[in-house]
């Protein structure tokens, strides 16, 4: 993939990330101390196109979540540029930030800590309305919150319940409803299913896919599980140690992984068929054998 291809204006990018870096480390403090630094995100560039689902995969600690938080401006980048609809996110003042927050929303990883345990579902989902001064009338707010609950597959009558009365999957639905309240253009899902049971994961993934299609969302989907990403995404970037090592269309990436790390990741995915792995290895050996024979012959 060339740089020209990446930046061609023909593709309608909602989000452009250029050479993003984030360095954590002790600033040294007053007494000097050691200046050990960790490059959590080390020069990451990618685009998210309007209406697509873009996947960011990598093992834990590779900088995926930090990238997501920088895009949402929950953390300041050390350097680099994030442009949302052409506007530099880092340079937004208070006045521009509020509309930006409307347009970019996040679904968090852990549905157990991302909901305030002391707030009812109604006030959790309704909070964006209060903060942004939308639906000021309490009755109207209740109505819109209940519509949202219905949209994500929750019983609107559970409006007054507390988060601890819900299961993990239901809690994640609450988190999704909250993120959708302000009708965002870009939704960032930071490992939205990794804390859930496998049986529940599919339900949440299907919900996200349905919402993405119906609401015309652009989705930045972050995960460490390749099979999940494959199911969800149009394009995928593979991250390793703070850098993107490979970026390709979903089908292409899985058919012909270019980078060694991607290949290792793919090899680590279990194949749900007894003996399949062994057969694959034998086939590979056969091809290699033919190759060797051909070379010798």
């Amino acid at each position: 993939m060339s740089a020209a291809d990446e930046q061609s204006p023909a593709r309608d990018a909602i989000l452009e990330v250029r050479d993003l870096r984030k360095t954590f480390g002790s600033g040294g403090g007053v007494l000097g101390g050691n200046h050990e630094q960790v490059h959590a995100v080390n020069g990451v560039s990618f685009d998210v196109l309007r209406g697509e689902t873009f996947g960011l995969v990598g093992e834990s600690g590779c900088g995926k979540s930090t990238t997501a938080r920088m895009i949402c401006r929950l953390e300041e980048p050390t350097s680099g540029e994030i442009r949302f609809e052409g506007t530099d996110v880092a340079k937004m003042g208070r006045k521009q930030l509020l509309p930006f927050r409307r347009d970019v929303q996040m679904v968090f990883q852990d549905p157990y800590s991302s909901l305030n345990p002391r707030h009812t579902v109604g006030s959790i989902i309704g909070e964006p309305f209060i903060v942004h001064g939308v639906a000021k009338d309490a009755k109207e707010r209740t109505k819109r919150v209940q519509d949202l609950m219905d949209l994500v597959g929750l019983n609107p009558e559970h409006y007054n319940r507390l988060p601890h009365e819900f299961s993990g999957g239901q809690r994640q639905r609450i988190g999704i409803a909250r993120a959708l309240a302000l009708e965002p253009k870009l939704l960032i899902a930071d490992e939205p299913v990794s804390a859930l049971d496998v049986s529940i994961q599919a339900q949440i993934l299907n919900l996200l896919r349905r919402l993405q299609r119906d609401l015309g969302l652009s989705l930045l989907f972050i995960a460490h599980d390749l099979s999940v990403v494959r199911y969800m995404c149009d394009r995928i970037a593979v991250m390793f140690a703070g850098e993107i090592v490979e970026m390709a269309d979903s089908a292409q990436l899985f058919a012909a992984p270019q980078h060694e790390y991607t290949q290792r990741l793919l090899d680590a995915v279990p194949i749900p068929e007894p003996g399949a792995r062994k057969r694959q290895r034998e086939q590979q050996a056969e091809i290699d054998g033919v190759g060797v024979a051909a070379a010798e012959g």
């Binding site: 968090f108 852990d110 909070e127 964006p128 942004h132 988190g175």
Partner: protein, 292 residues
């Protein structure tokens, strides 16, 4: 929480004692009238013996009288008013101010936290009784301090005790906030665009209620004792308002008249013990890891 507190017998008894004490404090004039006791500041020169010494328990004065001929029983009952109101008021002030300071320091971190925490360290390092005596003397001259806002007597005592107590609350709250602010619901609120004030008041403070309740119940008996100590030293509540500490202080000058020292002492002991045991019980009831 309530159900678990009810299983703790000691805590239930302490709760009743505390409720009883509060009732006595509120109904003091009624109780005194009911038992036909003289008013707490009524000086009966006939009750003092011919050498001007206080006399022991009699029919008219069941717990004896002090050196001015004032009824000890009546003064002990009225003393509950001062003890409890000073302790509860100063605890409330400490909690409000300590929570505010602690939440701000913990939420903003960085240099805000550094400045606030160092100031708290300075306050904690102060010999607080000395500070109290100094402040009390300074505020007891003329119209009081802060432009007449803090007048001598009870307001000064409340202020001193609140100043002494709030750094502890602030520290505990700060620590809790430092861990709470890392939870994803705070990030979620930030990504919605909620202001720092909204996050602090609507998201953080409601999650701090349990530790604050527990610490306040420990602070109340401490503050009762502190008020008694200040009054004992003569810089707290002033005559003719009666306070247990001040009665003990007077009694220490007449060690032969046992009734004069015993009854306010007993009242103080009961109150402090009840609040402490109630605090213990609440702590157990609010701590989910300690199941019996």
């Amino acid at each position: 929480m309530w159900a678990r507190l009810k299983r703790d017998r000691v805590a239930v008894v302490s709760l009743w004692v505390v409720v009883g004490l509060i009732a006595i404090a509120i109904l003091a004039p009624l109780i005194v009238k009911l038992f036909g006791l003289p008013a707490p500041d009524f000086q009966n020169s006939n009750a003092v013996d011919e050498f001007g010494q206080p006399t022991g328990p009699t029919g008219a004065n069941p717990l004896g009288v002090d050196q001015l001929g004032r009824d000890v029983a009546s003064r002990v009952i009225y003393g509950a008013r001062i003890s409890l109101s000073v302790a509860l008021l100063s605890t409330a002030l400490s909690v409000v101010f300590g929570t505010l300071v602690g939440v701000i320091a913990g939420y903003f971190r960085g240099w805000v936290d550094a400045i606030v925490s160092r100031m708290l360290d300075v306050l904690l390092a102060f010999p607080i009784l000395m500070l109290g005596i100094g402040l009390a003397s300074a505020c007891s001259i003329g119209n009081g301090c802060l432009g007449g806002l803090i007048t001598p007597g009870v307001p000064v005592v409340v202020l001193i005790i609140a100043i002494a107590g709030f750094p502890y609350i602030a520290r505990i709250v700060r620590g809790q906030v430092l861990s709470l602010r890392e939870k994803e619901f705070v990030l979620a609120a930030q990504s919605i665009g909620a202001s720092p004030w909204r996050i602090m008041l609507r998201h953080l403070v409601p999650n701090l209620v349990a530790p604050i309740i527990v610490y306040s119940t420990v602070l109340v008996p401490q503050n009762i004792l502190f008020e008694a100590a200040l009054s004992f030293l003569g810089v707290g509540v002033q005559d003719p308002t009666s306070s247990w500490g001040q009665m003990l202080g007077d009694a220490s000058k007449n060690p032969d008249q046992w009734w004069f020292m015993l009854f306010p002492g007993l009242a103080l002991l009961t109150t402090v013990l009840a609040f402490n045991l109630l605090g213990d019980g609440l702590q157990d009831a609010l701590n989910p890891r300690k199941r019996r």
